[in-house]
Amino acid sequence: MSAQAADIRAAQLRLQEAGQELRRLPATERIAALQQLLDALADPLGAFQSACTEQLASHAGFHPETIRAGLRLALEDWNGSALAALIENEVGDPANLDSRAASPLSAFPLTGCILAGSIPMPTLQALLLPLLLGSPVLVKPAGRDRVTPKLFARSLAKFHPLLARCIEICDFASDDAPAIDAFVQLPCLVASGSDATLERIRERTPSGQRFVGHGHRLSLAIVGADVEAEDWAERAARDVALWDQLGCLSTAAVYAVGDRSRVEAVARALAEALRSLEARWPRGRIGAGVEAAIRDARDEARFRAAAGQEVALMAPDDDAFTVVLEPASDWRSTPLHRFVRVYRVATPDEARVALLPLGSHLAAVSVDGVAIDTEGDSPDFEAKLRAAGASRVVAAGGMQAPPFGWHPDGGPLLAGLSPRGLRSTRA
């Protein structure tokens, strides 16, 4: 049932009332309930992960085993302790959240979340953080994931009914102008989506209101010349296969250091690892458009190989995965959905330079076999990658398990959601 503008205004009124009660609660009580909630969500055998796996599979098209593995890995450490650590880092004493004088942060009377995509973790974080500060949340779910917000609210109701009343879901069409105009009146608006989507929402948001945009990003891998290829490939393939390479923390491409034979060995190992993973975590459904994009990109690789370029295509007969060995570091488009280009670079620094044009859209980089510690007075490799735009630098295999407190911009999570925090942020 699609919500109308009047439904959205009615929901805002209910949330404002609930918000008054919410802010009378001691922060420690809110925090305790949210910690309990996170502990429950982190349980791989618990109700949330089971229902999310089952429902998201039919709704978003991912294979259940891929969802199960993705949730288990990502939520394993997103527990009550992780929330406590976030509060300590960004607020200090939890009691500060009760004291306007002591706290660097406060709560908006209402926060609106416009969600996108079908990967649950950003949704969980988007819903939980305003509640932590004491702000009720009005949610427009993503068209491809109407599941996670409902399950989140249902799980929360078990631990704290009042907090659960502080979430309302209003589902309406993205082109319903009256509904959008009603929604964007909220004092704080958090939106996810493509740059174009964020721009459209921002244009409609009244001036002076807080707008926090989380844009699309991508992540990459760098692998050194001396890394054992099979071991690395097994870990890197997990970073690719989870969420079918569609998350901003999914490895979209690999920069491999070495000569042609070394990089070909890396690419072949990755293809073999993806083949092996396909049996455990089959890729989900894709539409004709994605099928066409994959066919087109594969045929282009075949053409380049026939034209004498040092390109190699490593792929099964079906389109379950594709690895393309690239002779140089020049970026090429990718259809994703487990389609990986392995770029040959002579040095790690060539990889770093190659990803500079991607900087504003970069999320994380996995680095293996490259010394990342300080050498003399020059900045270490990790610092250089961070300067290039990467907000996470980890070893392959760990990309899809960011800490709860990670922000794609590398900054604090809560400040953007507080009237006293940053005026406006854009991821």
Binding site: D195, L218, D244, G289, A293, E300, A307, S333, P335, L336
Partner: protein
């Protein structure tokens, strides 16, 4: 065994077909020309020949035009796909792009086929009512060919101005900026004189024009009967996109045009021919774009590469005999569907279905590069 034919003879035969009226689809004639052209291009264009060999398809063993190996449009970004001496090049059309993204190139040693195909299609689908050298006012929302010499779109619109435009015709986009005042003045002149106006441009320019008109609160822009709009191009790499039906509805409403007079053209830099909506040429025509007789469209299953049946969605593959100087068989990444009742003579464009960005939060990296960020 396919008989060898010189390029000049092929050009001549194909030009003759393009000039014939009424248009006649002739499978035997197309098959013969396509196979001879394939043999010529295999011999003249080394990268194409290598690709064909890698696919196990060589002239003499290919029995039908349907079996001629197709190159992906991306191939035009990789190598010079031309079957003539570079010194004979008279024109290079380039795809749009940024300094980071590669640009595809169509090398031409003659504009005769390109322009003859263009004129035949424009006359049939966009200006079917202009007879005996009659002209009309055309305003173009795209840069001139002088401003964008490597744009096939600008070349196409300039040719339309030359052939069909009157003395009041011209461009309303200069230095990448819309000249809205000029455009509105042309609309007013058209209304006062009660003479129909044709507006041609890119879809993105139309969106900006409509936004600008909305902001100015300009009213009374309904155009005289017989006016028409031709839009082309997509929104790839643009900050804003509007679906084609929505865009046509907005244009129709703003200028008071019936749906039959708001046309879309499907074309690409790599092709010598284009495809147009047909309702101006044939009242009550079913939706979709009729194919000129010297072109064929196949729709293939992206997984198997097999032709799909009626009412099924497939990847658009185009065989365009106007491409004598490069490669005639081209595989696009666009999706299409044959219009009910037609057998590869009329098809609908479904564009490129959104994929990654709808389901995830990873940016499709080509979009990122095209926005130049």
């Amino acid at each position: 065994m396919t008989q060898k034919t010189s390029r000049a003879a092929l050009d001549s035969e194909i030009l003759e077909w393009m000039r014939e009226t009424p248009w006649q689809h002739d499978e035997t004639r197309f098959d013969s020309l396509a196979l001879r052209l394939f043999a010529h291009q295999f011999e003249a264009c080394v990268p194409y020949a290598r690709y064909c060999r890698s696919q196990g398809s060589v002239p003499g063993e290919v029995a039908s035009w349907r079996d001629i190996p197709t190159v992906p449009t991306g191939a035009f970004k990789e190598v010079r796909l031309a079957g003539f001496d570079p010194a004979s090049t008279c024109k290079i059309f380039r795809t749009s792009g940024t300094s980071i993204a590669r640009r595809g190139e169509l090398h031409l040693d003659t504009l005769a086929l390109y322009e003859t195909s263009l004129e035949a299609s424009l006359r049939r689908f966009v200006f079917p009512d202009l007879e005996g050298g009659e002209r009309m006012t055309i305003r173009v929302l795209a840069p001139s060919a002088q401003e964008a010499p490597d744009s096939s779109l600008s070349h196409m619109f300039d040719r339309a101005l030359e052939i069909f435009g009157d003395e009041s015709s011209g461009h309303d986009l200069e230095d990448t900026k819309l000249c809205v005042e000029n455009f509105l003045a042309a609309v007013l002149r058209s209304r006062h004189a009660n003479r129909p106006l044709a507006i041609c441009g890119t879809a993105f320019a139309f969106v900006h024009l409509l936004d600008e008109i909305e902001e100015r609160g300009s009213a009374g822009l309904e155009l005289p009967t017989g006016s028409r709009v031709l839009e082309t191009g997509g929104f790839k790499g643009r900050s804003r996109s509007v679906s084609r039906p929505d865009l046509h509805a907005m244009i129709g409403e703003r200028f008071g045009l019936p749906g039959s007079h708001v046309l879309n053209q499907y074309g690409m830099t790599e092709l010598g021919s284009q495809f147009y909506d047909g309702p101006l040429q044939e009242e009550g025509a079913p939706p979709g774009k009729p194919t000129p007789p010297w072109t064929r469209v196949r729709l293939i299953d992206p997984g198997s590469g097999d032709d799909v049946g009626p009412d099924r969605t497939g990847m658009i593959v185009i065989h365009d005999l106007a491409n004598t100087g490069s490669v005639a068989a081209i595989q696009t990444a666009d999706l299409g569907r044959f219009t009910a009742g037609s057998v590869d003579e009329r098809f609908e464009i479904l564009g490129r279905e959104p994929g990654a960005e709808e389901r995830g939060c990873s940016i499709a990296a080509d979009s990122m590069l095209e926005t130049g960020t």
